[in-house]
Symmetry: C2
Subunit: 339 residues, 2 copies
């Protein structure tokens, strides 16, 4: 085995840990429950124990290059602390990097989980052939990651790529961040369920109403299942998802002119239900997309007057690595970030 690192995907529900070598081969993967309710120290203990066990097992077969940890929340890259994490409330201002480095005696790199996912897709996933890409991760919330010149773009305080909080509808639905009309309020799993319940309440979605009545845990997945069965109300919900994503992706394409934009996270399994609306918006809203769309038909629409830029195409696509993107990305961090 070549040298390897250990990636951690610290979710609010699952704590996933993987050893990955420098070529991207998965050496070992393990999943624990995240014992959030017991408090931060339990979670750190569980994490450190699992990492130590894994490192012990592979001792001698390669050098451990370090540990990368993807955390849902805002990371202060300089101090190695979690500033804000809705799913891990007692982690704020806790020196997690220093604490884990001390316990394990190896280098630790903290990263926002959506940045890790983007980095994973860039390393081993759908974006492996480009140096510049952005990713939207549609889960309970909507995370974003931005990779420029092959490196995660952090901005000055590690807070960049919060694409989930781009305003889509200035007077729209209230978002968890306090703003109105954020992408997250239209394209997260939470939003899918809310929009389905709104449709039920309006009386316009009998199929959704029936499903919600039959299922106490009425979820985004249930809405998607109805959509693929052709239920009109469920399809309208995913049209709203795609429209919001299309508006934000148009903004991103106009602003950054990257070769690739990736949509991942759990909700992206409904890609077929929302993607048509994405491309509809892109064609009408982004003159940069119109000039760089991969198929001639995408160059039509309102911005069709902008000539094609030849070989340089804008690819908007779904992610490839599923829920492993963040894990692989986290593992990659200590392999590339200095020594």
């Amino acid at each position: 085995m070549s040298n390897y690192s250990i990636g951690v995907d610290l979710g609010g529900t699952n704590l996933r840990i993987a050893a990955v070598d420098e070529r991207g081969n998965l050496v070992e993967k393990t999943t624990l429950g995240t014992r959030v309710a017991l408090g931060r120290d339990y979670v750190v203990n569980d994490m450190c124990a699992a990492i130590q066990q894994m490192a012990e097992k592979h001792k001698g077969s390669g050098k451990l290059l370090g540990i990368g940890i993807g955390v849902p929340g805002i990371i202060d890259m300089e101090t190695g602390m979690v500033r804000e994490s809705p799913n891990l409330p007692d982690w704020a201002d806790y020196p997690v990097r220093g604490e884990i480095e001390r316990r394990l005696g190896t280098r630790v790199v903290l990263e926002n989980d959506a940045n890790s996912a983007a980095f994973g897709e860039k390393w081993l996933g759908v974006a492996k052939d480009v140096d510049d890409m952005a990713m939207l991760t549609l889960g309970t919330g909507v995370g974003g990651g931005l990779v420029l010149d092959g490196r995660i773009w952090h901005g000055m305080a590690g807070m960049a790529a919060e694409f989930g909080h781009t305003t889509v509808e200035p007077e729209g639905a209230l978002c968890g961040c306090g703003n109105r009309g954020c992408l997250e309020a239209y394209a997260s799993a939470t939003a899918v369920v809310r929009m389905a319940r709104e449709a039920i309440a309006s009386g316009s979605a009998p199929g959704l109403a029936e499903a919600a009545n039959a299922d106490v845990e009425f979820s985004a997945k249930a809405v998607f299942n109805l959509a693929i069965q052709g239920d009109e109300g469920a399809r309208r919900v995913f049209h709203q998802v795609g429209r919001a994503l299309g508006i934000v992706l148009s903004d991103m394409v106009n602003a950054l002119n990257l070769p690739m934009y990736v949509v991942g996270g759990g909700v992206s399994s409904a890609w077929d239900a929302f993607a048509p609306a994405i491309f509809e918006e892109l064609r009408h809203r982004s003159m940069v997309y119109a000039a760089t769309a991969p198929e001639p038909s995408h160059g039509q629409g309102a911005s069709g007057k902008v000539k094609s830029m030849g070989a340089k195409k804008t690819i908007v696509t779904r992610a490839l690595l599923g829920s492993d993107a963040g894990l692989y990305g986290a593992a990659r961090l200590p392999q590339v970030n200095g020594s």
Copy 2:
């Protein structure tokens, strides 16, 4: 004199040319009318003659490092051609860089005019102490420029930083690009006049109606003059300008987390009339801004729960160089872009 370069700001109305040395000292500046109606060849002839004259004059006092030309439109950086330029319709697909290089026997760098303006503000203006910044140029349209790590971010085809076409209102006013609700449809000089006329038509702006009746060339400047005199209708127009700018700046702050965002161009002289609405939106819509606002009071509002990130502040401010930003930025291009 140290070595110098020549910058050109090729506008639809004025053709401005300046010799600037490597330290940013203005050596000479001249302004001609752009004889657009006579066709491309006349404009190129005028430009080349003026440049040659200027170069001849300063021969011997320093080396001419090259010529930078800011052009309103989409530039194909690779081929050195203008792809699209509403103000210079017959320039599309004309190999302007090659032609001017051939005539003058020196290096020519073409750049979008809004990118040039951003680069000028970064070199000698309000952003001279930061390496990363974005700029919105409010003129007839709304241009954008993005500087990352001290260099203009072009994206893959030179089309990046089209912030003026960020969607602000998905079903809003029609924009020249074909999309609805772009920033340009709310924050350009054209938009100011349109919104003023809408207010007049609605009967809610007697002051504006009177001014428009008295002035056949009713302009954004006239609306601004009324606003500073306290006219309620005119103030509401600039509130709309600031709101749209604030929404887009919030998106930009969330996406890029840069230390500085600059608002320039002719309409920015109305800064005092629209800036309060910008900061109102920033405080409510950007959690990144809330965590990095320069004054404590800016950390309030919906996103006030995000803790301050300490010394790293997000500055949103007006430009410093006025209409010279693009000229200085264009002159800087051949000084830094290879040799």
